[in-house]
């Protein structure tokens, strides 16, 4: 497959698959609970419905509120182009792109939180505060994990760090990589507000983190936020899959299906975690995040020891 086709597949998958992950998670949870559950494609219907609606904006809000939804979606959309999904280079790739990647995620969060604050509602402000607090703890875990990969691959390019060379490192630094994998999975759950950090299904005001911030959004803006959140899940899922299944067959016809299968497995695992665990008490959340940081930190210590 030449580069253009490869990149096209990348873009198509990256923008078409995310809602399906939500569908798979919901289905898994439904099966665990003994229900039939919504159809797998339900998130697509939801998005379609939302984008057809009109918009209502509160008069107290400014442009920040409108920008929040758009920037959140766009930043996730660019970030996904930086990850080497199938092992070969990503559509956008240059030395030091991991910095861009990290800041894109940060930018998205900044604007989502700002939009929440812009409404002037104390309730949404509380949600923003929680989101940012937990992000403070999740980010170090993520960065320390990146540090391990950078050290192993000797590259500061996501395509190099997560590329096909990763497979060889599992043999000599498997302990470290396993720790990073575990740590990143925890980060995935935290960043996407899944159980045990946040229950995306509850509408109990005191338990919510992410959902609280977006209560005032409606119509296409809310659709964009939902879509952006799904993209973010896809981004982190892709990172975890790349880390866990780094081997590449070499033939793109096989590598892409392997990646998609891996992603679906991750979605199922998230579903299983959500079905078997209870949400943590809010005060216990930092403990788990600090534990994730420590996992990554020990991965580094093991590496440089």
């Amino acid at each position: 497959m030449n580069t253009i086709i490869h990149d096209s597949v990348h873009v198509v998958l990256a923008f078409s698959l995310p809602p399906l992950l939500l569908g798979v998670i919901a289905k898994t949870k439904a099966l665990f609970a003994g229900r039939v559950g919504p159809p797998l494609l339900q998130p697509y219907y939801d998005l379609f419905k939302l984008f057809q609606k009109g918009s209502v904006y509160s008069t107290t809000t400014t442009w920040v509120f409108r920008a929040g939804a758009v920037v959140g979606f766009v930043s996730a959309g660019i970030a996904v182009l930086l990850i080497p999904l199938s092992g070969s280079a990503a559509p956008i790739s240059f030395t030091g792109d991991l910095i861009l990647f990290a800041y894109l995620l940060g930018l998205g969060r900044f604007f989502t939180a700002s939009a929440a604050l812009d409404t002037g509602s104390a309730f949404e402000g509380m949600g923003a505060a929680r989101e940012v607090t937990f992000a403070c703890l999740a980010e170090p875990a993520f960065f320390l994990g990146l540090l391990v990969l950078a050290k192993l691959s000797g590259s500061l390019q996501l395509s190099g760090m997560l590329g096909s060379s990763l497979a060889t490192h599992w043999a000599n630094a498997g302990d470290s990589l396993a720790l990073v994998l575990l740590s990143w999975f925890i980060v995935l759950l935290a960043e996407n507000s899944r159980i045990p950090f946040d229950d995306p299904n509850t509408h109990l005001e005191l338990t919510m983190i992410h959902e609280v911030m977006v209560l005032d959004h409606g119509g296409p803006a809310f659709g964009m936020i939902l879509y952006g959140a799904a993209l973010k899940l896809f981004v982190f899922g892709a990172l975890v899959v790349r880390l866990a299944v780094p081997m590449t067959v070499g033939s793109a016809w096989l590598d892409w299906p392997i990646f998609v299968a891996g992603l679906l497995v991750v979605a199922v695992v998230i579903g299983v975690v959500e079905s078997t665990m209870a949400r943590l008490r809010l005060t216990r959340v930092p403990v788990l995040l600090v534990a994730a940081c420590l996992l990554s930190a020990f991965a580094i210590i093991l590496l440089v020891r």
Binding site: D175, A178, R284, L288, V290, A291, I301, R305
Partner: protein
Amino acid sequence: MAPFLDPLLIVALALNFVALGVSRIRGVINAVALQGILLGILALFVHSEIGIRGILLVGGTICLKGFVIPRFLVHALREANIQHEVTPVVNYMNSILLGAVGTGLAMVFSSTLPLADTHKGLLLVPASLATVWTGFLMLTTRKKAIMQVLGYLLLENGIFLFGLLLLEAMPLLVEVGVLLDLFTGVFVMGIIIHHISREFASISTEHLTELKE
């Protein structure tokens, strides 16, 4: 030495943090029990040839540290009607951080120790020191008597890890004696916990402050 040693030790180390961070006593008991089982399995991997002696030791360790003692503690927990919350003096987050600092220091410190050539670069010594440290942490920062017993068990686990380096040097009688002492110790402590809970209707050692200057 065996290739599985380091991954197993990392799991054992991770269990230290689980023991420090979990808020239910049952969770801590399970973590310590799992670590006990791991210790037994580790003994299998440390040395290539395992005689009758080795099998006895591994079986005894797994049986005692993994099943008998935890069962007994769970029993004590139920008998004494203890509340399931750990009630730490130092909160979970700080406990974990202190544990991490200790583990980091153990790694640094053990790299400066003059180890025998075959033991260089192994995780065994740092894991041992870190587990001892975790045991001390739990002994000093938890209020409930049963948690202190668990801290003592962690401490013994750490010492056992170091003992793995000397497996050939230690005669069976001594190993068995150590295990027996450990078991009797926990047994006697369990009985006293029972008495404490009956006397004070709680097993928090906060009540044990009558004797002082």
